[in-house]
């Protein structure tokens, strides 16, 4: 039997939630970044899945968006990790709990 769109959506939802888990439950900044990356990957999976299961248009829009979002994710990762390093330099920690200078 051939899989329906639902299957992929569920999988990407799972991936997304796992990313969310990492973002919400881990204290280490890098874990948070990994989680964000995973959520982005899930989003890409969604794009591709929807593109694949939708009636075809001339330009593969979903693929395009996936490509762009991958590029943007790369940029995001680079800047984010640079931020982590900079933060570590200042506070000698990457624990996001301790980074609460903006507390009201």
């Amino acid at each position: 039997m051939t899989p329906t769109l639902q299957l992929f959506l569920v999988i990407s939802a799972a991936l997304f939630s796992i990313g969310l888990l990492a973002v919400l439950s881990r204290r280490h900044a890098i874990f948070i970044l990994i989680g964000i990356e995973m959520m982005l990957a899930a989003a890409n999976l969604n794009f591709i899945a929807f593109w694949r299961f939708s009636p075809q248009s001339q330009t593969p829009t979903g693929v395009m968006i996936a490509i762009f979002s991958i590029a943007i994710a790369a940029a995001e990762a680079a800047v984010g990790l640079a931020l982590v390093i900079a933060v570590y330099r200042h506070y000698r920690t990457t624990n996001v709990d301790h980074l609460n200078q903006l507390k009201g």
Binding site: F8, L9, A22, L24, S25, Q56, I67, V84, I85
Partner: protein, 160 residues
């Protein structure tokens, strides 16, 4: 494209992702993240977007994973001290998953099978990139440059 393949890949991918989210050692987490990315790429292959899959592997394993690893190295002193995970977050994540799944299964419009399509070749993607998506392409290029410079500036040793 058969459900079996999908399920197999899912079985490979999701645990890896879970490990990436939960493992104590950052290094292991990163590597399992890489594995998860490979799984996602496999999904892309399965869905007929080979190019995107390759790009995903290329970018995430070749660049992002290595970057993360470097960061781990540079912030080493902080690694390993494990802290109590916050269970609220975990619960929330589970809740989101439940909600999403419920919503997906509830909507019948997505319970469709894939139509037969002609393979999206690199040539087609290239043409699309150079015609309809040329401005987005330029913008992304600009963005990447900006990110590069910004990252450099951020990690530059501030002189004092």
């Amino acid at each position: 494209m058969s459900s079996a393949a999908v399920v197999i890949i899912a079985i490979l991918t999701l645990p890896a992702a879970l490990a990436a989210a939960t493992l104590q050692k950052l290094m292991h987490a990163t590597l399992s993240f890489a594995v998860a990315v490979v799984g996602v790429a496999a999904f892309f292959f399965l869905l007929g977007a080979e190019f995107v899959g390759l790009v995903l592997v290329f970018v995430y394993i070749g660049a992002v994973a290595v970057l993360i690893v470097f960061t781990i190295l540079l912030t080493r002193r902080d690694v390993g001290k494990d802290r109590a995970a916050n269970w609220g977050g975990a619960f929330l994540a589970v809740a989101v998953f439940g909600g999403l799944t419920w919503a997906i299964l509830k909507t019948q419009s997505v319970a469709v099978v894939a139509p037969h399509i002609r393979a999206v070749t690199v040539k087609r993607i290239g043409e699309a990139l150079m015609t309809n998506y040329v401005w987005p392409l330029q913008c992304v290029g600009l963005l990447l440059t900006a990110a590069l410079i910004g990252a450099l500036v951020l990690v530059m040793e501030e002189k004092r």
